[in-house]
Symmetry: C2
Subunit: 416 residues, 2 copies
């Protein structure tokens, strides 16, 4: 069962939009036993037809996203209808839902939304609860074989609920595949070669497993795919022996979700005091449902004045040690812990660049401090000469991983 994805939209090929649909679809399809074999991005227009014909030749199921909107450059529906020779027909129920969508919002139906009520003959409707373009589920015959075509709207807020509520249940019924197990472990703060060096021989000798590595922003993922549990379990055992607390089972979840999950289990509360990361640690933590049980709050003390004003850091300490220093990072973490009455706090101060920096602490320098109630505050210095956003992301990776490791050993620390 081969599945391909075609993402349409000139904005993707112009770099104005990052394609997140592929990842969304892949993650939802995998547990059903489907893997995406290939993906293509094509501009709005006739290229959609060419890509569709090629995919129909190779794959059994094709998912096309985008181009179902009301504007003149939305032509996916028309091109699919023409390619598979299923004429577009006006669909009364769809038209009624479009009219309802607007009337609920006390708005007139714009005339150009009418084209969204035209549907290729024989297509089934996937309801769009967050927009006007219906998704389409189409069985078509191509080169003598039955193919499945799925058309989904481009905006993520429309695609996501349609995927969960309409598409997944149909795909389940369409024929679930034998389950495959995918497991991912991650190590933050080590290079890809260094990680691979320690596990490659073991993995090479492991039977019935497909494995791979992926390095990104200071995190190395080791991914295993198998249809058996045994190799997955023995790999996990080996990774723990090799890396100790440095490795964690991530399974595609970001480090912040591991932090929230583990802290919630141990009823640990967390506060943040951020300078150079500018709120990104708080943002990442609050992306996770249930964050409110763990994360009390945080300070984004961007200017030196705010570090003194918000957090009550002694201005003479800032003066003496410099705003980017281990002493200030530690004082920030301690202040956050105290003011928020939290169990743990993490603080960052550094030079994100492109401006700033000193001779001994150039752009890319960062101090991260972790404060744990009843323990000595730890502080580490890092140098990441990266662009601004990568710098922020890299530091938050280490800051969050430091929280994870401290949460792991929390009981023993308190006893010690």
């Amino acid at each position: 069962m081969k599945i391909e994805v075609i993402n349409t939209g000139s904005e993707i090929l112009l770099g104005n939009t990052i394609n997140t649909h592929l990842a969304t679809l892949a993650k939802e399809l995998f547990p059903l036993g489907f893997r995406i074999d290939r993906q293509a991005t094509v501009p709005d227009g006739s290229a959609i037809g060419q890509a569709l014909r090629e995919a129909l030749h190779r794959a059994d199921g094709i998912i096309i996203t985008g181009g179902l909107g009301p504007t003149s450059d939305d032509v996916t529906r028309e091109i699919v209808a023409e390619t598979i020779q299923a004429p577009l027909e006006f669909h009364n129920t769809v038209w009624q839902s479009i009219k309802d969508f607007f009337s609920k919002r006390n708005r007139e139906v714009p005339e150009n939304n009418r084209k969204q009520a035209f549907v290729p003959r024989g297509a089934e409707i996937l309801q769009n609860s967050h927009g006007t373009a219906p998704g389409l589920w189409i069985r078509a015959s191509w080169e003598g074989k039955e193919k499945l075509l799925i058309l989904l709207p481009g905006p993520p807020r429309e695609l996501l609920p349609m995927l969960t509520d309409e598409l997944i249940p149909r795909l389940k019924a369409w024929g679930q595949r034998p389950p495959i197990i995918q497991a991912t472990w991650s190590v933050i703060g080590m290079g890809e070669s260094a990680v691979a060096d320690q596990v490659e021989m073991f993995l090479k000798n492991l039977d019935n497993v497909e494995y791979g590595y992926c390095a990104r922003n200071g995190q190395v993922d080791i991914r295993l795919i198998s249809d058996e549990k045994t190799p997955i379990e023995s790999a996990e055992k080996f990774f723990l022996e090799t890396f100790g607390t440095r490795v964690f089972r991530s399974d595609g979840h970001p480090i912040e979700s591991i932090v929230i999950r583990d802290a919630a289990i141990k009823q640990i509360t967390i506060a943040t005091a951020e300078s150079c990361t500018g709120g990104l640690i708080a943002h990442r933590l609050t992306n996770i449902p249930g964050a409110s049980n763990v994360f009390c709050g945080g300070w984004v003390a961007y200017s030196a004045a705010m570090k003194a004003g918000m957090l009550g850091i002694d201005p003479s300490l800032i003066e003496q040690e410099g705003v980017v220093s281990g002493a200030v990072a530690s004082a920030m973490a301690d202040a956050a812990l105290r003011h928020a009455k939290a169990d743990m706090a993490v603080a960052t101060t550094g030079y994100a660049g492109p401006g700033g920096g000193t001779k001994q602490d150039p752009v890319g320098t960062c101090y991260i401090a972790w404060s744990v109630k009843g323990n000595k505050t730890d502080c580490e210095r890092f140098l990441f000469p990266l662009d601004r956003e990568s710098f922020k992301l890299r530091i938050t990776q280490i800051a969050l991983d430091g929280l994870r490791i401290r949460i792991c050993s929390h009981t023993s620390i308190q006893q010690g």
Copy 2:
């Protein structure tokens, strides 16, 4: 001149990594007059060869990312060499840079990095200043035509500097295309149809322009491409007449960069007090170089206790009005303005879900308040029944756009 991009990596097709390379490449290539015609993602392995042969048939230039690493699943170099029949040869200078890379970091060269020093015959080296895999610039003959193949490493921190420092200068020399102008305007808080309704007739009658719309997270982009200035200028005039201050020239820049730029020009400082957006406004503002001239700092007052504790909001106000209320949002904005001694402040409080919410303020409710020094504080209520991350993103869009509009009219407000 047709250019295609092939992104390799099973992690992309498994949904573990979001492909940002396509957008990065597109944005850098466009000003040189190159547009990407098509893109494909293929898994590590032999599928790379198939996709490459197809692309060689259609395109003049092919950029391949990923699969140049030291691990066993990195096979792009080998497959390209085989496809274009250019045998791999050991390259001494490359091997020396790899050894230097490790010795600078006081590390031994792992044995598996040696394969990165093998290069297809005739290839030119693109230096990798942030990793060990060199990029490759290869001229090959295919079906009697000369083709250009560019191989880039997968990790963004390696690809990005190589693109800027090594690839762009070569592409410029390779043959700059006649310049094309791309311009994008954005409107936040209106639907795609509503925007299109007001501009479609105008754009349809505009000569020598390619146009398109893109809707995402509460923002509608109108994109124009032309090789003449005149239609771009008359469209801008028309958009300003039609939408007033609601429209802004974005040109692919996010709203936060417009806010930082405009505030810096008018020397306006900004503070934030966030509850349901959890630091995302601060994070977005601090992504922009020069943010430190505008953004003083922010509070992430996630729990009710922290709203009282951090910001000094009267607990009885929270008790009376509820933590998610216009009164609390306004008090938060006022407190942030006052504590940070800023010119403007924005505050958010709401129910991100999946838990929480009340009968009259269900999950998805949010209050946003804007406080401007010397003016009455404005507060608006919104209802966005979205998933957690989309909810946060949508609210920050409106919060930031509200800042942009207030910055626009700042002088007149102070005079009024």
